[in-house]
Symmetry: C3
C-alpha cells in the first residue's frame, strides 16, 4: 500500500484505487454524507490568477466541511513586497492555518515546497501555470462516473485549444489510465505532440462526434493565444470549423454527453442553446465540483488524522 | 392576493401592503426578532461598483440571519475572462448558492435574468446603473415610519443632484404612492422631467425647507457629472445656493428630520455639524439599513419555504 | 488605577502593569485558554496598506475569539468616493460593528477619532504611517518574555533601516521602559536622532552581536527608501556590511536569539538558512502574534464588559 497522501498536487501521483476512493467519497458527499473535524481547522485560499468557479467551489466545499477561512488577497498581500510563495505559506502555517489552496501562474509551484521539511500544512493545487488543474480533472472524472458507472470501453473526444488547457492534459492522461479511449480534435498547431502518449489526434470534430460517449469542448483562451493567433482568430470561422453546433450534436451516439470546463464562450466553441440542453453536463460538472473538492479535502484531513471516526 | 415574491429587484412591483409588511418585519428585527433557517443557506454578494455601506450592511444582515457567505470579488473573477453576469450567476447556483445580492452598472441588469427559466436562486438588487437602489429606498421609508408612525399627510423635500441619484427616483415614487407629498429642489438642469409624475419641482431650497417634515439631501456625485458640469462645479457656491446650512435648518418645522443616503460631502450638500445634530437621521438610516435588509432577505426565504415557523 | 483602556492605539499609553497583563493573557491563550462573548460581536479589518501576516493574524485571533467579520476592501469601498476614515468608521458603527482594526498610511490616524464623542466602537491600530505597529511590538515583547522569562538586564540589538521601521521605534521605547538595554546598528544616515532617548547608536553590527541576548534585524524597505538611497542600494554590499551572516552568528552569546518582523529579504538583512535555524524566533514570533492579538482584543472586550466571566 502506498503512503497516505498529505497533499493534493499532481493527480498522476494518485493511483487508480485512490482515484476510485475519491470518486466514491465525492458521491457520498453528494448524497448527504457528513464528517466532523476533531478541532477547529483553518484554511486559506490563495488565487494568484482569476477564478470564479474554482475559488467559490473550494470555499463552498470548505464551509460544508466546517472549515474556517482566513481571507488572503494576493493582490494586496506581502507578495507585493516581494515575499516568496514559500515564505507566505510558512507565515500562514505559523499563524495556525492547516491547509492552503493555491492557484499560481508558475508551473509546478508546489515542487520545491513539497520537499521543504519546514512545511507541514496540507497543500492543494487549484491550477499551476501550464501544468495541471487536478481538482477539475477529478470533477470531470466524477461526472463521467456518475453518468456511466464505469470507465472501461468509453470513448472521449477532447476538442479545442489543447495547448493552453491545463484540463486537456490531466483529463486526457487520467481518462487513458482509467481505460477510456481518448481522441483529440482542433487545429493541428494547437496540438501538443506529447499528447500522443495518452490519446490519438484526429483533428476534425466531424470525425470525432459520432465515435464518442463524451464530447469535451475546451474554451478558446484568447488571452493566452500567441500574438499572431490572437490577431487572426476569427470566432465565427472557428465555430464553423471546430464548434459544437446543433447540427453536429445530431451525430452523437445515444446517451453521449457534452462537457466543458467553463467559462464557455457561447457561440464560439459551443452553440449557446446546447449549454443548457439535455445532453449538457456543464452545470452538473460545477455542481459535482463541490463534492469532488469535499472528497479531496476530507481525504487529506483523514490521512492527517484530523477527522472524528 | 399577488404571487409571493421570489426576488427583490424593483420596488415598484411591491404593493403597499407588501411594503408595510417589510417595514413591520424590519422593525421587529430591530427589536430583537430572530428567525431560523431550515438548512444551511449560502449567499454571494457581487458588487461591480464601489460600496462600503450597502455591501457591509448586506453582510451584517446576512450574518445576523445565519446565512453563510461565499466571497466573490468581481475584479478578480471570471467576469474578467468575459463571462456574462447570467453565466456567473448560474455557476454560483450550480455550486449551491441560494441567493445573490448584485450591484451592477447596467440599468435593469436583472430583467433578462428574471425571465431565464434556468435561474432558480433568489436575486436581490443592490443598485442597478441609473435605475433603482430599492433596499436604500426601503430603509429610507422605514426611517420615516419609525419617526412619524405613518406616511399620509407628510411632506418630503428631496434636494440636489436628482439626475444621477438612484435614490431620488425610487424614493420619490414610493413616497408618493404611500401618500407623502414630494417636492424637489436643486438646479433645474439636474431635474429629470419624468419626476413630475410623482412630485413637484420647486427648485429653491429656501422655499422647500419650511414646508417639509423630511428634508432629504442628495450627494453631489462629481464622478458622474457631465464633463462640463464637473469642470465648472464650485462646491462653495453650491453650498450657498443649495446646501443645507445651519441658517436654513432654523426654518424647518418642529419635528422635521434631515436625511441623506450617504456618503455625505460634508460642507457641500450639508454643513458638517448638522450631520450629527439632533435633527439628523443619517446614521440611524444606516442602522435601519441592516434591519430593512434582514426583512427583505427573510421575506424571500419565507416565500421560498426556507425558514422554520 | 488608570482608566480601563477602550482602544489599542499607542503602546506608550499602556503602563508596564498593563503590558505584563497582556503578555500573561497572551501566554494563557497560547496554552489553550478560552473566553466567551456575551453576545454576537462583529469586527471589520481595514488595511489601507498591504499586509499578509498582520491581516491574517488578526483574522485568526478574531475567529478564535468567536468574533464575526464584516469584510471591507478599502480599494473598492466608499473611501474611493472621497469618504473620510472617520465617516467610514461611523458608518460601520451604525451598522453594528463593534471593533475596527485599521492599518493606514497616515501617522496618528486615530488621534482625531479618539477625541470624537460620536465614535464608541473599539479601535485597534494595526500600523499608522511612520508611527507605531503596537501589536507587532507586543508580540515581539511576548516572544522575548517566552524565551527569557523576564526583561531586566537583557540587551537587545536592533539593526537595519531604523528610519523606515514602525517596529524599531515602538519596540525600542518599550524594551527600554521594561529594563532592556537597547543598542542600534546600521548606516548612520538611517538612524533617527530621537532614538537616543531610549537606546544607544553603535552602528557596526560586529560590535553589537557579541553583546546581545536578542538580535533583531529589520527589513530593508526598498519601496520606502529615498530615490537616491533606492538607486544606489546594493543588496550584496549591505549584506556584507550589516547583514546577519552565519559567520556573525558564531559570535552570539549562548542562548541569544534572532528576531525579525518579517517579511525577510533573505540574503539581504539575514543569510537565508539562519531564518529557520535553531536560534531563529522568526516563525515563533508570527505564531505568538495570534495570541498577542487575542490578548489585545480580549482585554478591550473585557474592559467593555462584553465577555462572560
Amino acid at each position: 500500500m502506498s503512503e497516505l497522501k498529505k497533499h493534493f498536487l499532481n493527480i498522476n501521483k494518485w493511483s487508480n484505487r485512490e482515484i476510485h476512493n475519491l470518486i466514491t467519497l465525492g458521491e457520498a458527499f453528494k448524497h448527504g454524507k457528513q464528517v466532523q473535524l476533531k478541532h477547529p481547522f483553518y484554511a486559506a485560499n490563495m488565487f494568484f490568477e482569476n477564478s470564479t468557479r474554482t475559488h467559490s467551489s473550494f470555499q463552498m466545499a470548505e464551509k460544508r466541511l466546517g472549515i474556517k477561512l482566513i481571507g488572503i488577497n494576493p493582490s494586496t498581500s506581502s507578495v507585493k513586497k516581494g515575499e516568496s510563495l514559500s515564505d507566505t505559506i510558512k507565515t500562514l502555517q505559523a499563524i495556525g492555518v492547516g491547509m492552503v489552496v493555491v492557484r499560481h501562474p508558475k508551473t509546478g509551484w508546489y515542487e520545491p515546497l513539497e520537499k521543504d521539511s519546514n512545511i507541514h500544512l496540507a497543500m492543494v493545487n487549484a491550477g499551476d501555470g501550464h501544468g495541471q488543474h487536478p481538482s477539475q480533472t477529478l470533477l470531470d472524472i466524477m461526472t463521467i462516473h456518475d453518468e456511466f458507472g464505469h470507465f472501461k470501453g468509453l470513448t472521449a473526444g477532447i476538442v479545442g485549444d489543447l495547448s493552453h488547457s491545463r484540463v486537456a492534459r490531466s483529463d486526457g492522461q487520467l481518462l487513458n489510465r482509467l481505460g477510456v479511449h481518448v481522441l483529440f480534435g482542433g487545429p493541428r498547431n494547437w496540438y501538443p505532440k506529447d499528447f500522443d502518449t495518452f490519446g490519438t489526434y484526429v483533428g476534425s470534430i466531424d470525425k470525432i462526434v459520432p465515435k464518442v460517449n463524451i464530447i469535451m469542448m475546451l474554451r478558446v483562451q484568447r488571452e493566452r493565444l500567441s500574438k499572431h493567433d490572437a490577431a487572426t482568430f476569427d470566432p465565427k470561422q472557428y465555430h464553423k470549423d471546430y464548434g459544437f453546433t446543433e447540427k453536429r450534436a445530431k451525430h452523437l451516439k445515444k446517451g453521449a454527453i457534452l462537457m466543458h470546463p467553463a467559462p464557455v464562450n457561447r457561440g464560439v466553441e459551443i452553440s449557446s442553446p446546447l449549454v443548457e440542453s439535455s445532453i449538457s453536463r456543464i452545470f452538473p460538472q460545477m455542481h459535482n465540483g463541490v463534492f469532488a473538492r469535499m472528497a479531496i479535502i476530507a481525504t487529506l484531513l483523514k490521512n492527517r488524522n484530523l477527522l472524528l471516526d
